[in-house]
């Protein structure tokens, strides 16, 4: 198309928001609540859950899973919550068959189920966990990382030397659902996160075959600055507003005003 050409997308159909923002079926991804957004999540599913510790976890999705009683879940999550909050609620109910995580030190029930053999556990380095999510979201079947080389994490894994360093080949995650928590979102699925509650959430949002986002606030398309959206809606399939977030603090550390 030549310079100054006006024959291209001058878009004959008048005002753009008349066409592009009409609420139709598939671009309107809003569900009324967690239960309706998770309606088709079956026993035996592999799912990713965002959050670091209790920070930025999809509280309402977890509650819905408890309510549904879905069982035999394989959960990919950096942590396993605490005994009575976060993923700990699913552990209490024995809804989880297998956990893939990097650090589970805050959960005594987890340790009990693991040591007793009730729970299958795969512990992997945190960066490997993050990058296997990124790989899935970016269509890369596998990535190379030096983390875990020479340790039991490397057992059975392919290694390869690049430069003078040895790397492990780690495959992209293949998760049916990703359950994430964002700060704000719109009906197109665009998401914005706040502070360190971002953590694994955008990565898992990009990695899930079906990505369900719970948000504190649902805004109109256009209300989020297009320069500052962390996850474009193309990655997100369902969105709902969560109310009354507990946002429990794990380690309340403060300075005293002496």
């Amino acid at each position: 198309m030549n310079k100054g050409d006006r024959g291209g997308p001058g878009w004959t159909w008048g005002l753009e928001d008349d066409v592009f923002l009409r609420t139709t079926n598939r671009m309107n991804k809003v569900f009324k609540d967690a239960l309706s957004a998770l309606h088709d999540l079956q026993d035996g599913t592999t799912l990713m859950l965002g959050g670091f510790g209790l920070c930025g976890i999809p509280e309402h999705c977890i509650s819905a899973l408890v309510q549904k009683g879905t069982r035999n879940l394989t959960c990919i999550s950096n942590n396993a919550g605490v005994d009575d909050f976060g993923l700990g609620l699913l552990l209490q109910n024995h809804q989880i068959r297998k956990m893939i995580a990097s650090y589970v030190g805050e959960n005594a029930e987890f340790e009990r189920q693991l040591l007793s053999g009730e729970l299958e556990v795969e512990l992997i380095p945190q960066g490997t966990l993050a990058t296997r999510c990124l790989a899935a979201g970016y269509g890369m079947p596998a990535i190379y990382t030096p983390a875990g080389y020479g340790t039991e994490v490397a057992e059975g894994k392919e290694t390869r030397v690049f430069g003078n360093k040895t790397y492990l080949l780690e495959t992209a995650f293949d998760a049916d659902y990703a359950l994430v928590k964002a700060w704000k979102g719109d009906r197109l699925g665009n998401l914005v996160f706040r502070a360190t509650s971002r953590n694994f959430n955008p990565l898992m949002a990009m990695a899930g075959k079906i990505t369900i986002a719970e948000v504190e606030e649902l805004v109109e398309p256009g209300a989020l600055d297009p320069d500052h959206i962390h996850v474009p809606g193309i990655y997100v399939h369902r969105i709902f507003v969560g109310t009354n977030y507990e946002k429990r603090i794990e380690q309340r550390t403060v300075r005293s005003r002496s």
Binding site: M1, R6, G7, G8, P9, G10, W11, T12, W13, E16, D17, V19, F20, L21, R22, T24, N25, R26, M27, A136, G137, Y138, G139, M140, D186, L188, N190, M206, E220, P221, G222, P226, D227, I229, P232, G233, I234, Y235
Partner: protein, 218 residues
């Protein structure tokens, strides 16, 4: 015979509500003009924009806001900017439902060549190799014959390939073509174009019965 707009309008029938679509330079760009009323799709521009809007009003051009064809464009409410790694990440992950692109040659196996004429023209593949390797649906929009009058639908490509066995549909001024195990399959004829005319101008193996309907638009 279809004109450029006819080709674009024909391809627009491939759109589905909720699709994410990448349109190449040239005729593919025109598809944006025929998005059916009431259907909501988002256009992805691989230089880092989802939700591309139309050209700006005269005087409102923003040099920081262009599409993959380097044209000044606009955003729409709900648009998103991102870097090139995320852009091709979403393409590679199969999140783009449909890509429409031009071609110099398409083979009866669905190979496509559109980036280089050895010794003569070297523009580069840009994002085309990524798109044809990963988009869910791949449609080619092109003229049926080249300037010398030779078929661009061939038994096999003579030019360096952009992608292997990836094209699912070809729309030219003569008709709509799909693929089966044998080669090209005529699916629809352009208005007023007979099967013999199409056969004469197609060099790849072509299945055509004469009973193929004329292209019509909703």
């Amino acid at each position: 015979m279809l004109d450029k707009n006819g080709i674009a309008r024909t391809i627009a029938r491939e759109l589905r509500d909720g699709y994410y679509v990448n349109l190449g330079i040239g005729i593919p760009t025109l598809v944006a003009n025929f998005i059916p009323n009431g259907m909501e799709v988002q256009l992805q521009s691989e230089n880092g924009l989802l939700g591309m809007g139309p050209f700006p009003w005269e005087g409102e051009e923003d040099p920081d806001l262009i599409n993959a064809g380097k044209q000044t464009i606009t955003t729409l409410p709900g648009s998103v900017f991102f870097d090139s790694a995320m852009s091709f990440g979403m393409i590679r992950a199969g999140k783009v439902d449909l890509t429409v692109l031009g071609a110099m040659e398409v083979s009866q196996k669905g190979d496509i060549a559109n980036w280089k004429i050895p010794g003569k023209m070297v523009k580069g593949m840009g994002g085309a190799m990524d798109l044809v390797a990963s988009a869910r649906h791949i449609v080619v929009a092109m003229q049926h014959v080249n300037k010398a009058g030779e078929s661009k639908l061939l038994p096999q490509c003579t030019l360096p390939l952009t992608g292997l066995a990836c094209v699912q549909k070809v729309v030219t001024e003569l008709g709509v073509f799909g693929f089966d195990d044998h080669g090209f399959v005529l699916l629809e004829r352009a208005p007023g174009v007979g099967v013999e005319h199409i056969k004469t101008h197609t060099r790849g193996f072509l299945t055509a019965h004469g009973s193929e309907p004329e292209i019509s638009w909703p």
